[in-house]
Amino acid sequence: MSAVVRIARVEGRVIPLRGLDIDTDRIIPARFLRVITFEGLEQHVFEDDIASRAEKGDPHPFAQERYAGARILVVNRNFGCGSSREHAPQALQRWGIAAVVGESFSEIFFGNSIAIGLPCVTASADDLEWLQARAEADPTATATLDLTTTTLQAGDRRIAVSAPASAIEAFVTGAWDATGLLLEDAAAVKATAARLPYVSGF
């Protein structure tokens, strides 16, 4: 089992991505799921959106040189809805994203992100608007997400963020990689299974 990795702070530049209900088909279109490893997925993140916005002369943030190397992604509401593909947070993480801040997240996307050590936290719509505008005006400005105090410090502004207590706990203690925990009590799992009539055959 790999060593415990605690994730308490994420510091870096910010990439803003505006829009409601951005689904996982847009984050990574289904044709790029025809793979047997997650390697290289970052090359296709938002590929169709990047192409369609390029046509309109409105370059997508993930295609703009000035955001290369950004670590904190700021989105809006219901980010990551749609398919359960873990390829979506994998692609974002491999692109370089180390934390996502948004108004809300789809549950499966949120769960997948936690499972791979990518914290997703929520903030108010006002704060998100401010963060996005700031990153658009100055892509070099950094921010620091502190999970122990559940705050995001951006310049002088200290923004309250939140996530379920169990998720925060998981990152801070390194328990986000749940497999080890789940494997701990093999005898109890066996006993539970044996009690279930559909396992024992009624």
Binding site: L20, A30, S84, E86, N112, A178, T179, L182, V189
Partner: protein
């Protein structure tokens, strides 16, 4: 089972369904760490997303699809997991074959690396989609770390009109409660309309819970459920079946159970529903008009504007009469035998419009065989439909069945996201399979409540071949 140090609950998974897209990385992880699959006998695999629905000659022409199936075959062999591939006669979309084989049972916890796992909740199971890391967790431990869910009961009361189906009910629910309305909730469907539904219809409802933001859909098990289960290959048999029924009854939620939220929808006033936009909540009754930007809430305006533009709709135009290029009957939402029967009713003796390419893709090999035993394939073929092999097909762009360019499809599937059906500029109108069949014949979106095949403009009618 127990509370984990993080405060989450460790949940035992009674049934783990596996398919080729979301699992290769999980099996590789197991190999790397030297872990076996803890309960191979509670794990079942099939292949659905990437399989061609035409020739199955191996190796597949598509080398990546071949690599994915080969990886699944190797993983199942190495880890002792049964694989229901085409050679078994039991292959099909994972959410179609689970129930069909009797693997899906009331009271089970069911997980699968696919968001439409909510389908299985129709049996009174707690079933939800997971990502690849969680697939690894379940393979290794047969357990998951979970947060408790709130439950919203959605009571659908009254009788559905002729031409209105479970698909319309769930599209309406998503329209009313929104695509994120269910986040944090399980949706429990109840009420007289749900009580009267067949298992196929309940599966359609639970299937699209995820489009409403709810990870879990659920219907209490009842006599309809038990009748469906009886005699299925993996269902308990004989006296065990009677004992099972007793247990299944005991796990149903009580009549006086308390819910975190409770909403009611009238079934009798519903029209057939059609989506016009870029997510499943952007829909109208077939007798209604697409919105104008001015009439929606300010925060929704950018999305509505984007959707109208992408779809090529004028604000406020009628959805009925929209010409279509492609008709697709299939997907885990609507590819079961009853869906095919209902679609065939609108096709019998008719011809697919000249301008339309139409296809029927049964959900499983078993559905296909049953449909052929009833002669449904002839009804479709005679009308000019393509009668295909089982799989996910044009529900998503991972196999050869795809939209081309800006083609617009009438589709019985579940997602109308940009690019979903394989072309980045392709367009999708979601509706019931009967509405898809009627649209194929008419060459345009029609209201099946007044669909009179004879009254269709003669210039639109004619075989394709």
């Amino acid at each position: 089972m127990r509370t984990l140090p993080t405060g989450q609950t460790q949940l035992f998974i009674g049934l783990h369904l596996v398919h080729e897209v979301t699992t290769p990385q999980a099996f590789d992880d197991l190999r790397r760490r030297g872990w076996p699959v803890r309960f191979p006998e509670r794990t079942f695999a099939t292949v659905d997303h990437i399989v061609p629905t035409g020739s199955l000659a191996r190796p597949f022409q598509d080398t990546m699809a071949e690599a994915m199936l080969a990886a699944l075959e190797r993983n199942c062999r190495d880890f002792g997991v049964p694989l229901y591939d085409h050679s078994t006669g039991r292959q099909g979309i994972v959410h179609v074959i689970g129930p069909e084989l009797g693997l899906t049972q009331p009271g089970m916890t069911i997980a699968c690396g696919d968001s439409h796992t909510s389908t299985h909740g129709a049996f009174g199971a707690v079933a939800f989609g997971i990502g690849t890391s969680q697939v690894r967790d379940v393979l290794a431990s047969q357990c998951l770390a979970m947060e408790p869910l709130k439950v919203r009961r959605i009571r659908v009361e009254g009788a559905l009109q002729r031409g209105v189906y479970a698909k319309d009910v769930i599209l309406k629910i998503i329209q009313v409660l929104g695509v994120k309305g269910g986040v944090g909730y399980a949706y429990e469907y109840a009420g007289s309309a749900v009580d009267a539904m067949s298992m196929d219809e309940r599966m359609t409802m639970c299937n699209m819970s995820i489009e409403g933001g709810a990870r879990v859909g659920y219907v209490n098990p009842d006599e309809t459920t038990f009748a469906y289960m009886e005699g299925r290959p993996f269902a308990p048999q004989g006296e065990a079946f009677d004992r099972a029924k007793g247990w299944w009854r005991s796990i149903a939620s009580d009549a006086d159970a308390r819910y975190d939220d409770d909403v009611e929808l009238r079934a009798d006033t519903l029209s057939p529903v059609v989506t016009w936009g870029l997510h499943p909540g952007q829909s109208v009754g077939v007798d209604e008009r697409v919105p104008t930007v001015g009439e929606v809430a300010a925060e929704d305006r950018p999305l509505v504007e984007e959707a109208l533009q992408f779809m090529g709709f004028a604000p406020g135009q009628a959805i009925e009469g929209t010409p279509i290029d492609v008709a697709f009957v299939g997907s885990c939402t609507n590819s079961r035998l009853s869906d095919l029967r209902e679609a065939a009713r609108f096709v019998r003796g008719q011809k697919v419009a000249k301008s339309v390419r139409a296809m029927v893709v049964p959900g499983s090999q078993a559905v296909r065989a049953q449909a052929e035993a009833e002669g449904l394939h002839e009804v479709f073929i005679d009308a000019g439909f393509d009668w295909r092999g089982s799989g996910c097909s044009m529900c998503l762009g991972m196999n050869p069945d795809k939209l081309q360019g800006r083609e617009i499809s009438a589709s019985s599937s579940n997602r109308n996201f940009k690019g979903r059906q394989g072309s980045p500029t392709g367009r999708t109108l979601l509706m019931s399979p009967a509405m898809v069949a009627a649209a194929a014949v008419a060459g345009q979106v029609v209201d099946i409540r007044k669909f009179e095949p004879a009254a269709i403009d003669a210039s639109l009618v004619g075989g394709r071949a």
